[in-house]
Symmetry: C3
Subunit: 144 residues, 3 copies
């Protein structure tokens, strides 16, 4: 049986606006920023560009990620993400859209291994809500 | 004559964070969530994946939607949306970006008929603002 | 040496919700709206469609923008953006995703010259933070 639709009311916490170091890992650097500031739930958006890209497609029938990668430069043309706790640490779940020099576009689930060229990051913290990822039988994913 | 640029100042209301049931209709389930909680204006973002996709392109010259669909699984790689009132009920206007197993991307105006695999949803309510959709002569669309 | 990762804590300011005039310039009209209301930092999202598109890819090795353009209608299928100060005025840095009548997608860094068909815009102001763009040696870009 799939889990029913569930919503929690969160309170807005702190808002952090910043820029990641060129050469850092996009996912790790956002997670480190959250860990350093004690952020365990929130929303993340980014405007930026990457030197390399690591991303994935979740094969829903086989319940496994198909990993994709590019060693080319891309604009980070779109980004939606949230922060929750996984194994007790801030975990970034983000999907991104990547553009090449002709505007050609690929997109998917963002993985570690994506190297920052420029990343203007907004982190909006949520408080009064506990988002903890645990295995979900229906999808095979770690969900809150 | 096109309507002039117009802005209203809204106040931040409640923030709801949640997850939609696997198998539910992405648009309907978000609208139902808003109706159940009395949300008549707000912003919506989603990180997720869908089992099927129904979306559209608005043909500006002919003032009609060209409907598109896919029965394939896709990552919901991007999502921008807002809630307003249409015919007295909460109405979701959202555009989405969809990724296939090779990262290949299509995108457009989200329609009913898109089946949720996973949807982590954030709804930020706005108060002190009235967004009611009505027919706009210039575009042929229902706008606020 | 690249600049280190840096974050500032911002306070939420006003929230403006509005719609741009059909036929206006997407970038200029958002910047004018911010200038008129004294917004010098914030986040911007848009759901809409454009009559023409002007966008770009930043060539990281050569440190120059490759300009791209289309005279076709597109859905504005995705949009991430922020407001900061450049040369003392509100400056929009935004990336967008554009969809054609078959769902085909291009994306990149949004430029002036993109003509609005419909644009439902949300501007969330940040206060207590000063985001001023200045030349960054490592990337060749004007960054805060």
């Amino acid at each position: 049986m799939p889990a029913p639709t569930r919503f929690w009311e969160a309170k807005p916490g702190r808002t952090f606006v910043g820029r990641l170091a060129t050469g850092s890992d996009l996912v790790e650097e956002i997670e480190r920023t959250c860990a350093d500031r004690g952020i365990s739930a929130g929303e993340v958006t980014v405007v930026g560009a990457v030197r390399t890209a690591a991303y994935a497609f979740y094969e829903q029938s086989q319940q496994r990620y198909v990993e994709l990668a590019s060693s080319d430069h891309h604009e980070l043309a779109g980004f939606v993400g949230n922060i929750s706790l996984r194994d007790g640490k801030p975990f970034l779940h983000a999907h991104c859209t990547l553009a090449d020099e002709a505007g050609g576009t690929v997109s998917g689930h963002l993985l570690r291994g994506t190297e920052v060229f420029v990343a203007e990051v907004i982190i909006t913290e949520w408080t009064d809500v506990s988002l903890v990822r645990a295995h979900d039988e229906t999808t095979g994913l770690a969900l809150w």
